[in-house]
Symmetry: C2
Subunit: 233 residues, 2 copies
């Protein structure tokens, strides 16, 4: 393995605990409003609506729509199913904004800083630029560059996203590593010639499951971002 | 004036001393190669070739070409006029790379850090993403977001650049300030509804001249980036 010149990161699940953050935010909203509901169930259903909505964009069934708008549409649909009465638009917006203020895994910031001293680090997320700028402000992720899906008008795993980021960096895919906790994201990157780093540590879905184990011989398999930085040094 | 939610910066001249940096880099190259030439004159001629080359792209006479390639073409043309014999491609590339390693004005980093604690800060430069990522690594500019001309396929003062950056940030033009030492850059931003901040301090061309004085009532006129941050606080 040649040392990559840039490492690009998946964000949701790989670097931040979306499930813990969003469910806590929903529960706090419910408490303030005097609403009781299965907030963790709503969180999982909300995230579950993510892939079908993105796929509608990826197949062209839906024109380009950013993640805020996909989140908004999904939430409005699923809340009544969970017995939560119609909320005002401003309340929906407030909840959509929870995805801009997610909590990092404990070692994400330290790991990114350790990597930043070695190589270019960037995000490569299905979040749009505005969401990611807000999230980086909130988390203190020290990005050299943010790549958002709206820069490409495509969602991962469309190849335009991976190859577009490499092109912006002026690097060949083989000079760039994608780091992610999701095998399918890494598989898409590898198919395009990128290097791959699997981060096995986070328990994105609350309990260890097979999604948290590597299913290919990725160039690097690490327990955490700090471990990835150490293995690339 | 409402406080902007984001401040975007012109880079060349506003935040970095391209003239001092490039001429020093050329002189060092010359000394290493045993070549004598008017390196400051070459620097000024090189920068002088910048606007016509960009304008060829802006008018469509030339397909999208990034700043490295514009710099390369201009340098190859002008070196013989300054009595510098044909250089190897690798040497030309090395000199083009000088624009990735420019020295900031003394207060640029401190000023950007002071602003970053208040608002989103980003670059809005005719440099492409790869150049700007390298330059930010070199200078330690703490960008929340880098906006490069290649994200838009246009050069300033084309409106696509200014409005495209606002759109990526999810902000209306009136919520965003352009900060620059160049009146014409600010005039283009103001015409699109952006706020404007003039930074009068740097002596980009080596001596104080009228280009270093505001020629409109910009929302903020500051002596330096540190002063701009203080005036926005």
């Amino acid at each position: 393995m040649r040392k990559p010149q840039a490492v690009l990161f998946d964000v949701f699940g790989t670097l931040v605990d979306w499930r813990g953050s969003v469910s806590a935010g929903l529960a706090a909203f419910g408490a303030a409003q005097g609403l009781a509901a299965d907030w963790l169930g709503i969180t999982d259903a909300w995230r579950g609506a993510y892939k079908p909505a993105m796929n509608a964009v990826r197949t062209g069934a839906l024109a380009w729509t950013n993640l805020d708008d996909l989140h908004r549409g999904a939430l409005v649909e699923l809340l009544p199913k969970f017995g939560v009465p119609g909320l005002a638009d401003a309340q929906i917006d407030e909840l959509v904004g929870l995805w801009h203020r997610l909590t990092p895994w404990p070692d994400s910031v330290a790991g990114l800083n350790a990597l930043k001293s070695q190589v270019v680090i960037g995000s490569l997320s299905n979040g749009h630029v505005a969401l990611q700028v807000a999230l980086a402000k909130h988390t203190k992720f020290p990005w050299d560059m943010i790549f958002g899906a709206d820069m490409f008008g495509h969602y991962k795993p469309d190849h335009e996203v991976y190859l577009g980021a490499c092109k912006f960096l002026g690097l060949a895919p083989g000079q760039v590593m994608l780091a992610a906790s999701h095998n399918e994201d890494l598989a898409a990157a590898r198919a395009l010639g990128m290097q791959t780093g699997f981060i096995a540590g986070p328990m994105e879905f609350g309990t260890p499951d097979e999604r948290a184990r590597p299913n290919q011989d990725w160039e690097v398999v690490a327990d955490s971002v700090v471990d990835l930085a150490a293995k690339l040094r």
